[in-house]
Subunit: 417 residues, 2 copies
Amino acid sequence: MQQENIQAVVVNIGDELLMGQVVNTNAAVIAETLNKMGICVKEILTIGDNKAEILTHLKHLWSQYHIVFITGGLGTTNDDITKSCICEFFNRKLVENKAILEHIEYLRNARGLVLSDSVRTQALLPEGCIALDNIHGLAPGMWIEEQNKILVSTPGVPSELTGMLDDICHRIKRKFQPWHKIDKHFKLMGISESALSDLLQDFEHQLPDYIKLAYLPKMGIVNLRLSGYHADGNLLENEMNKQADRLKAEIKDYVFAVEDTDLALLVGNLLKEKGCTVGTAESCTGGAIAHQLTSFAGSSAYFKGAVVAYSNEIKHNVLQVDEQLLEQKGAVSQEVVCQMASHVLQLLDVDYAIAVSGIAGPGGGTPQKPVGTVWIAVADKNGCQAQCFRFGTKRQMVVERTVQTALCMLYMHVLKQ
Amino acid sequence: MQQENIQAVVVNIGDELLMGQVVNTNAAVIAETLNKMGICVKEILTIGDNKAEILTHLKHLWSQYHIVFITGGLGTTNDDITKSCICEFFNRKLVENKAILEHIEYLRNARGLVLSDSVRTQALLPEGCIALDNIHGLAPGMWIEEQNKILVSTPGVPSELTGMLDDICHRIKRKFQPWHKIDKHFKLMGISESALSDLLQDFEHQLPDYIKLAYLPKMGIVNLRLSGYHADGNLLENEMNKQADRLKAEIKDYVFAVEDTDLALLVGNLLKEKGCTVGTAESCTGGAIAHQLTSFAGSSAYFKGAVVAYSNEIKHNVLQVDEQLLEQKGAVSQEVVCQMASHVLQLLDVDYAIAVSGIAGPGGGTPQKPVGTVWIAVADKNGCQAQCFRFGTKRQMVVERTVQTALCMLYMHVLKQ
């Protein structure tokens, strides 16, 4: 088989997406999965639960792409019409799939539920289509091949979709041999996107047309992605290595990681490697740092616990911050955040402690300490280092930037030990 | 002005979206905002940083919709090409906007930075377009009117987009008088989506064609949305009230809220109303419940703090759970979760306490307590109630369902007091 430039479109069906009631996380999951396989996602389209519109788009997209990947509209309610659209488009009848019906009966029995007529319709599939097992729900996915093209349809419930992705990837790999794809990632701190763009002007101009550089700034960190896409795997690998070395030389003063890894996971891996533990004392972040640090499997190896001290009473009673200090300096101060860090270090008996205290807003600001003012401290047995930041006026952004910056401070601190 | 059926398309430009590196939250924010104004969003399209493709889509979409709302591609880097595409599409030149240039100079000065050539290009705008102020960044938004249609273009950075939305809404309201839109929301527990669909079959069949019912299941809760869209505002309001009453009669055994409000905010509002406080003791959720409860402005009125006891050592040392109990019953047990809740109630001096202890996975499961087993307790001065759940095998889902269920248990408990 020869390498092909395989192109795909992702179609997400659902009025709830067009109304903005649900954020479309499925598209990103599918796009990431397909891209990693070397399949180029050219469009992501969200449309409503409307038969005429679905059919119009389907006709147009089917003529343009190798893979049409559809999510949503496979439930048992009246607004779930994907299946009937697919039947009409391919001119196929619905037939009952025995294996799927048995699976549905088994699931219903296991939960002590009867098999209603509407649930039974889940076992009806377009003639000749391959059913994709759904381990997290009732509605099977569908795989249809025609004219050397693929239509995949999965439920819109994120867990049900992700449960089918491995199966779908294997089927795609058996069918197509896509172009080679290499991505290299760099995480930078201490430089803005625009300054970085100025710095990298010459580098960008000399890149061959099959290698692209993308800037992804996020909460004070700039993520750079160098992506190559080519039919010739060896050529691509050599050129990517050469370009990555050139890039690294340019950004060496700012780069702190060369992985596309979540910062919290990066911190976690570093702590695990060093055999160290961490705990947090959080005010304005309300537990968000602890939540980030425990988002990954195996986090109990390095994360022991946290005290969320939203009220001053708890800062005093649980974290033993001086009442006088709280009154004189205020909760958002270097002295208080250092006491929080030092005391939580002892209380939780950890190697490193993060403490944050700030004004997330919208209320609580003063001329001296406006909304967005945040003190962050990192403590270990040798002492405590604290820094003050201004993170803007939007509550959610203040919290997010505090989390990212605190994790970054901890990462740099542990790295130096 | 007569009411018009105004239709819009949202176009999000950016390779990072097509590669799945970034979840498209902008689309949901814009869609929700436009829908609330009675503007019908018919498509959401994500495409890459490719001039030919942007122009092809723009041509097609401009002929179909009243409003084309574009985000992304307005930065200073080489992959930011939205502005040049707009110029080419409307056949306009780029001209320097003095007010924008002054604003950019002011922002740069305030941060002690020089005005580089690439930053200066941000002040270049298509001739005759209205600049939309960007209070969170450098790149202005753009508003172009032609042939009684609107093209809006904003940066892709979420905070910069949301900072412009009020201005954009006011301009749209001055330009169009859209159809009337009414949404009514219902939150249900204790019934599955498919059982609900069976229950509401007759109700759905008698709905007029301008009123739709949508099912939005989320982590054990089913959200129902009844949406009406019509040129005649009075007719719509009367019919919507009649249908909402009919619906309420059908679902009265399951409905626990009639607002489209986040569960954490619902809990917060109820606590505020009753003048009560809450705190949490969290193991497997790692602070996620505290984080949810503090996500909203004013949460310090009811949320005091939390102890995240990820390790057994902290369950014992900070939450005073019996060591013997931990050993005999295990951390994931009714006895331990009740001790956690009761002790945190005292430690934080709150009216209500939530405690959770479970196995988020992927490791740590046993035949008796498989991954996904979670104990949740709610305590107040009268005692403690605990329940055991099985939340599946996916780590992230176990955490999310635990958070939602814990908040739901607290809500029902406080409601009954």
